[in-house]
Symmetry: C3
Subunit: 314 residues, 3 copies
Amino acid sequence: MSNEYKAKIGTLVDSISESYKKECYIAPHDLGFLPNRSVIIDTTKALRQLVFPSYFGKTNFRREIQDYHIGELLVCIIECLTKQFTLALKHQAGKSENLSEEHYRQEAGRLCYEFMSKIPQIREFLATDVIAAFDGDPAAKSKDEIIFCYPGVFAISIHRLAHELYKLSVPLIPRIMSEYAHNITGIDIHPGATIGKYFFIDHGTGVVIGETAVIGEHVKIYQGVTLGALSTRGGQKLRGVRRHPCLEDEVTVYSGASILGGDTVVGKGVVIGSNVFITKSVPEGTKVSIKTPELQFSGHAIKEVSIEAFDWVI
Amino acid sequence: MSNEYKAKIGTLVDSISESYKKECYIAPHDLGFLPNRSVIIDTTKALRQLVFPSYFGKTNFRREIQDYHIGELLVCIIECLTKQFTLALKHQAGKSENLSEEHYRQEAGRLCYEFMSKIPQIREFLATDVIAAFDGDPAAKSKDEIIFCYPGVFAISIHRLAHELYKLSVPLIPRIMSEYAHNITGIDIHPGATIGKYFFIDHGTGVVIGETAVIGEHVKIYQGVTLGALSTRGGQKLRGVRRHPCLEDEVTVYSGASILGGDTVVGKGVVIGSNVFITKSVPEGTKVSIKTPELQFSGHAIKEVSIEAFDWVI
Amino acid sequence: MSNEYKAKIGTLVDSISESYKKECYIAPHDLGFLPNRSVIIDTTKALRQLVFPSYFGKTNFRREIQDYHIGELLVCIIECLTKQFTLALKHQAGKSENLSEEHYRQEAGRLCYEFMSKIPQIREFLATDVIAAFDGDPAAKSKDEIIFCYPGVFAISIHRLAHELYKLSVPLIPRIMSEYAHNITGIDIHPGATIGKYFFIDHGTGVVIGETAVIGEHVKIYQGVTLGALSTRGGQKLRGVRRHPCLEDEVTVYSGASILGGDTVVGKGVVIGSNVFITKSVPEGTKVSIKTPELQFSGHAIKEVSIEAFDWVI
């Protein structure tokens, strides 16, 4: 290492070290260790393996010894989650509380057990989501294809897990899980959203489902759909306020549609057409579409083109 | 391990084990081992390395010894694919057939050889796609940038491989490959889609191209475009039916447009503007746009704003 | 290895080897080694660790020894980047130049030092982006959640790094970095784009920001927004020409809106509603929305539905 190089490195270290003391929003925090994002993602993968046995493991699943498979995965998941929950709880409490490490560890253990005991019920819901995907997509060749490949099923699997953690008020970790699913699928479901059985998102890229959205059973959603807030101008003052719509049972929302607002209720069996923009409630059984495509045509040889307003085929 | 902890784990194992016996849609299957998703993705990466030599390998490519590079990759790819094809074929056959493992292995070997012999032709098509990207994007600085960075080129590379497997009726594996590309790029091309030379998708996030879509040569597509089905209400009854549009040569489709339906033919040289929604055929040479932006303006200081309807600049 | 198998492999190797000599656009290049995409991505992760200390490292960050953390990361980053810069510069020069390896290495070292000395300023900007995200989203629970989970913050972090490399005219590497962020987040920001402080992209999937876009301070953008070019028909002839819009300070653009063209200036404080399509300038303080939702309704029991045109709540 030449002296010049050493001096240059020294200058860089000093200036970055100086910067760490400023920019309080991204300075190193001083509350002990933070939860570890990659450990949480690895544990999420292990949870998916537990929920869909025989699909995603590295070793081959054998029914005869399934209790051993379960036990091994469980112990590993519980160990990782308990540690991450402890870090998250301690971090959330910050400097104000002065409780022992052991206090947070015990609370983490309790939350972890509560969470794991929900797995059978989560599986019950996910089984209905796989049925909804198979019934809803003519391109689906088998339930295995759906479990292996469907981004909508991936996203709802992670959501149903993250939502249980959200209900248990575990800090940070459900959001890290849901953002992992968003990275993989382009589907952004906030862990707070309440979603009924038989839920199917097809293709999915660009879907956004907000924190206080409520979705009934047998609901089908396509790529680019937003279930969003009317306004976020209020910023942090809106925290906790109901800002996202409610979709009742058997609602279908086609690609690119936006449904906004905490007072918006989309009634049972409603069909919302592509690119429709809704900010008020829609009564049961209605079909909503954009009135006419409003297109204009020009071409070297053609004067008129008959493109009729699409009706309810979509 | 305390007794209490042991008992808790035991309770969880029992309840999950019980759940594995129910929820038939996501229960462990009992047809032997399933294909392995991560092996298939790793093999897809190796195939990409074979198709674009010197770009993605871990070791440095040397022209003088290229046959050794090819041979090494080939043997590795063939070994992995043959094993995965065997598992997929056996799994598809299910319990109804009673053929030997060797039967499926032989069939898998034959399909694998068929597939690998298509590599030179796939490369011929992909070379045209790289040209189309370079000619179509002023931000492109070199063909290397395109091969390294362009999500559209990534997606069409994986598609051209997956489509050959689809034509050979290999189950499950082409869909796992195409969904891998969807994860990475946000571009969802079903392996069944037929796509001509010189195909370019720019940016690409949110693009959906359905199973029975047919696309000519020199077609250019932007982010958020759907080539979709008019209706999937028929569900599994529609399987195999032509549901997606045909785009003839030299068609351009700008961002956010949707073209739907199996009877919809978009003629040669047609330009479809942003956010246009098409469910009927469009004759050769036409340009289709949304009639007027239909905007409304309000502001503290401004009464009127002259925003003209955009015309054919896009 | 049977003779038959050996012969088959031989045939495949020959045909692929033959293909490598053709298809010049995807043939192996002969300019020595190319930059390595995975090394660049790993280095980008290390840079993110340096920029957000204590959030993404594998080892736990301790303030007391922060200079050691910085020094270790720095030396590793500088070594990797200098090597990759050298390869990129040499590759860009091609066969025309006949300069020594050492020449490129020295230039790479100089560029790398220049770049690393920008880290404190990049951190200054990123701290404002984290504040903007926290202030702008009622669902945000803490700044840690934002740094861990927000795709918009991920994308702008990588962009602020890549943009410095772009300004230093480092070839290829900034685009590999920005496309990495695009893969992860669905947000496609060209490294050329100029973006002011307090920038916030919410959800983000499908956002496209072009090479020559200029964005002021306190700008907020939602999923599916395009800041694009009016036309790319000119292809490579348009390279270097200003093709993308300018957004002045305090502009908000809601989901799915497109703002196109190099002469388009969106004035201070403008609000662009969802799905608006703009190709002309908009004066300061204006709010632009789609005039009416233009919806049609049908339903078995309902004749009329009162859905008013949404106004400026969004």
